[in-house]
């Protein structure tokens, strides 16, 4: 049997558990670590050990943070009247990288996915309802930014219905919007799928 030294082998097995990394890549990565300065490995080793105990969820938006509130909810320059609902922290990062959005977020940490037995109570929808009902700030708009796939759509629809109930109950008048659909910038019509093309016709605009 192929065998690396035990500690190297363990690290290769660790890499292999990560998504998208096979056993050959895992070995290559483990081997690569031997080239890094010992100090770097020590420091990253410590951080890995403490990762879970250090990382918490923001009590407002469920973003990941090391404090009680994340840097976005803490930032008074952000527009707290607009909340964008995303599935994961990675989706939030995509918006933040572009610097195109000045509001705040709510992270669901998942989507409604009956095939994998994930229901509305398994993601952070209830927290969103409470957040809206008890908000100190006036909420003007809620943007549903779940992914445009089947589960993402279902999640968006479920949340929209919940939001309507809250609006009736609490006599609130915020807008509920969904991200725009159509051709991505730089796309080629030739390679666009049927669903995207049909949305791009439906959502055509004056020009």
């Amino acid at each position: 049997m192929a065998k690396l030294p035990q500690s190297l082998q363990n690290i290769a097995l660790f890499f292999e558990r990560l998504p998208g990394i096979g056993s050959k890549t895992a070995n290559r990565l483990a081997m690569y670590l031997l080239r890094l300065p010992e100090q770097d490995l020590k420091s990253i080793g410590e951080q890995l050990s403490q990762l879970k105990s250090r990382t918490k969820m923001c009590k407002v938006c469920m973003n990941l943070t090391e404090d009680n509130m994340c840097h976005i909810c803490n930032d008074t320059a952000r527009d707290r009247s607009t909340i964008t609902i995303v599935e994961t922290v990675l989706d939030l990062l995509s918006f933040e990288t572009g610097n195109i959005y000045k509001g705040v977020y709510h992270i669901l940490h998942g989507k409604i996915d009956p095939l994998n037995s994930i229901g509305p109570d398994d993601i952070f929808i209830r927290n969103l309802e409470l957040r809206i009902q008890n908000s100190e700030f006036e909420i003007k708009e809620i943007i549903l930014a779940t992914n445009p796939d089947m589960e993402g759509e279902a999640t968006a629809m479920y949340i929209r219905n919940k939001l309507r109930e809250i609006q009736k109950e609490k006599r609130l008048t915020f807008k509920v919007t969904r991200l725009g659909y159509g051709l991505p910038i730089g796309a080629h019509l030739e390679y666009a799928d049927y669903g995207t093309l049909s949305k791009s016709i439906e959502n055509r605009r004056d020009f």
Copy 2:
């Protein structure tokens, strides 16, 4: 600016330093770690910290090991009269996975690569010479298993010349061989490159 909590960010940056991992994948991997049990992260963190101090080179073949000698050189069932010379430990692993080879190895940890200023003295060729000159066992064959690219060929040729000098000096008669070239199993002639096809004609055999 997009921002993860500090410890998560540091781990993402660590992943990003690894070959073949971009910043999006690095973020995804770091995020995935939060799903692993804390105990696993602690244990892998410790192993990372100790990785470099624990991993040594086998004093015989330069394979990686936690002892003085690697498990292959220590294995008395292996045929010590045949030495296969490979560039890296990963190459050794490929041979070992197949369980197709019963001899021992010598790992160069690199190849002669003048464009990147790596000369014969920068890889473990001198150790190989000493190993052969001072061997307790009779050496019958040395298989040059460097990669079939330009640098691998140059390295193989350099070592072959060195071995011939040693043979003359010490009146030794071991065979020196190179791995067979030709079409890989499962290949399609249609997609084979010129060099491979030409080798496969040159190395054709009775059938």
